[in-house]
């Protein structure tokens, strides 16, 4: 019984991280980030590939996306091109991913230590996240939540397809971050599960400090609270969007790296994991961070129990969990008029 709770909390911690990232991205950019799951997959499988000495295709994808982003930057600024701007765009979009690719290629055959694999995976996925915003969402920044949502689904399809190309249909596992384990009463704690708790808590505290104390964190919050107001003080919507996507992709990748030693991940597993983070985010109303974190733990626990007692219907139960929540939400705040969709 207790071990189910423990299982649920481990899962829940991951969902909490993902849920927080979803809330963040939605608040800042109004994008409902369906491809969050792909960040999880990419992080996990890039890490697994690197540590087994393979060259992950994601590094090449980052370069390809960088080139497209560079093209878009040039096109957007075609009327006022100057050297500094081109130089900066070149550095971010071309030099950065190419350098990462070179580093990956150089390290891939040499069995680098785990920490290096993790860092490199994060770098790769972060740059993909950054370029994804530039390519898919920045041009749509002025459109409705619905259009952004559909675009988000399109990104999910494309990235998942790439995932299959890069990593094949076979599942992979990665090496654990910490091998130690100890027993406490009836419960056995592995080093990995401790790492999950530790990193989740560290991230939550880190985000809290970032949003509460730093100028950029406040700028992000300001964008979420009032987009026009933020623009009027000179905070670029695109900058906020980039930071949000950067954070979301890093959080996604970290989540993936944390679970890939525990469960076998396939190219499409991330989507399901992401959706569960999603349920938590929706329970939190896409605005409340603490509520999201708590909801994530509930989702994780329900999942753990239903996979034990009704494993066939695990997914059915988890996904229908959302319906009563939605009912409650709609009863609580039914008559909000949207001036524009």
């Amino acid at each position: 019984m207790l071990f189910l709770v423990q299982d649920g909390i481990t899962n829940g911690a991951i969902y909490a991280l993902l849920g927080l990232a979803l809330v963040l991205v939605f608040a800042v950019t109004r994008v409902i980030l369906i491809p969050q799951g792909e960040f999880v997959t990419y992080g996990a499988l890039t890490y697994a590939s690197l540590s087994s000495g393979q060259m992950p295709g994601t590094a090449r994808l980052a370069v390809a996306m960088g080139i497209v982003a560079f093209g878009l930057d040039l096109f957007a600024a075609r009327k006022s091109l100057h050297l500094k701007l081109v130089g900066r765009a070149f550095a971010v979009n071309i030099v950065l991913p190419t350098a990462i690719l070179a580093l990956t290629a150089w390290l891939a055959g040499r069995h680098p230590p785990i920490a290096v694999c993790i860092a490199l995976s994060l770098l790769i996925v972060a740059s993909i996240g950054l370029f994804l915003y530039r390519i898919a969402f920045q041009p749509l920044a002025h459109t409705s939540v619905l259009v952004l949502l559909i675009a988000s689904v399109g990104c999910h399809l494309a990235l998942q397809g790439f995932g299959l190309v890069f990593f094949g249909a076979e599942g992979q596992r990665g090496p654990t971050i910490a091998d130690t384990a100890f027993t406490l009463g009836p419960l056995r704690f592995t080093g990995q599960s401790i790492a999950v708790y530790g990193i989740t808590v560290a991230f939550i505290i880190g985000l809290w400090l970032f949003f509460g104390l730093t100028l950029y964190g406040k700028a992000l919050r300001a964008t979420a609270v009032n987009r026009l107001g933020a623009r009027l003080v000179g905070i670029r919507t695109t900058l906020s969007g980039q930071i949000a996507f950067l954070l979301a992709s890093v959080i996604g990748a970290i989540s993936g790296i944390l679970i890939v030693p525990i469960t076998t991940l396939y190219y499409d597993t991330g989507f399901l994991i992401g959706l569960k983070g999603f349920i938590a985010a929706i329970i939190g109303g896409l605005v409340s961070y603490p509520l999201t974190a708590v909801a994530a733990l509930v989702v994780g626990t329900v999942e753990a129990f239903s996979s034990f007692y009704a494993s066939n219907f695990k997914e059915v139960i988890v996904f229908t969990l959302i319906l009563p929540v939605l009912v409650l939400r709609s009863l609580a705040a039914p008559a909000v008029e949207e001036e524009k969709d």
Binding site: K79, S80, L215, K218, A219, R221, A222, V225, N226, L228, G229, A230, R231, L232, V233, G234, I235, R236
Partner: protein, 243 residues
């Protein structure tokens, strides 16, 4: 002639409907200029377009640079600032955070001086610096919106209906502060329905009707103009003594 802001032959349309037609205007250094006119005349539209929130056809030259293609954020960086009609504060953040973000594009050292200046101008904000912006009264919110705009040390401050929905006594306060801005080296472009108060502090004025300027001149001349008096000051003559 090098005005700080010079708008020439501006057209602004919502879809097919042209809200502002062929408008030209100038604001010089250290000058307070007001645009008066009825509700729906196109004043807010014009300010929003100068700020870059709406598309404008025509020329907008600010501090010697054509800014018509610039994004809002770049216009802010160039020294243009707008306090919009709905204030657009960060309601769930503290007064101090709002002000700090006002200096987002400014070096940290300069921002510290901006804080002092804004708190000196609006002592009330200093008292309430820990309070959430959304919990302030209407007048305090207007002060915060102006303070936030001033934090970025703009060359030109554009104010959209600063008196809107405020108690008369606070309106007087706000207008006094606007007058003080000139001494601080900030030019002001003021849009007001409260024509009387606006004309009292302004150097020059434009009168807008149905998307066009029908009159312009020194604030004194405009105030004395019979047509303006009839259309915009008429009903308030009885109240003059109370100002």
């Amino acid at each position: 002639m090098s005005a700080l802001l010079s708008v020439s032959d501006a057209h602004i349309a919502y879809g097919k409907v042209e809200a502002v037609r062929s408008v030209s205007l100038e604001v010089g250094d250290n000058e307070i200029v007001t645009i008066i006119g009825a509700n729906g005349a196109g004043k807010t539209t014009l300010l929003n377009a100068i700020m870059g929130i709406l598309q404008l056809k025509g020329r907008v030259v600010f501090a010697g640079e054509d800014i018509v293609r610039l994004e809002i954020e770049d216009r802010v960086a160039a020294g243009l600032s707008l306090v919009p009609e709905h204030r657009e504060l960060f309601a769930t953040m503290s007064v101090e955070d709002n002000l700090q973000l006002g200096a987002f594009r400014i070096a940290r050292a300069v921002a510290a001086r901006s804080f002092e200046r804004v708190y000196a101008l609006f002592p009330r904000l200093k008292e309430r610096r820990r309070q959430l912006a959304g919990t302030l009264s209407g007048g305090e919110q207007q002060m915060l919106a102006m303070g936030r705009a001033l934090m970025g040390a703009p060359k030109l401050l554009m104010l959209d209906e600063p008196s809107l929905g405020l108690a008369p006594i606070i309106v007087a306060d706000i207008f006094r502060t606007i007058g003080e801005l000139r001494a601080a080296g900030v030019s002001v472009l003021l849009v007001e329905q409260n024509a009387q108060a606006a004309l009292q502090i302004a150097d020059r004025a434009y009168v807008m009707e149905l998307g066009e300027f029908i009159l312009d001149g020194s604030a004194k001349d405009i105030a004395a103009n019979a047509r303006v008096a009839a259309s915009y000051l008429g009903f308030t003559h009885e109240g003059e003594s109370a100002v």
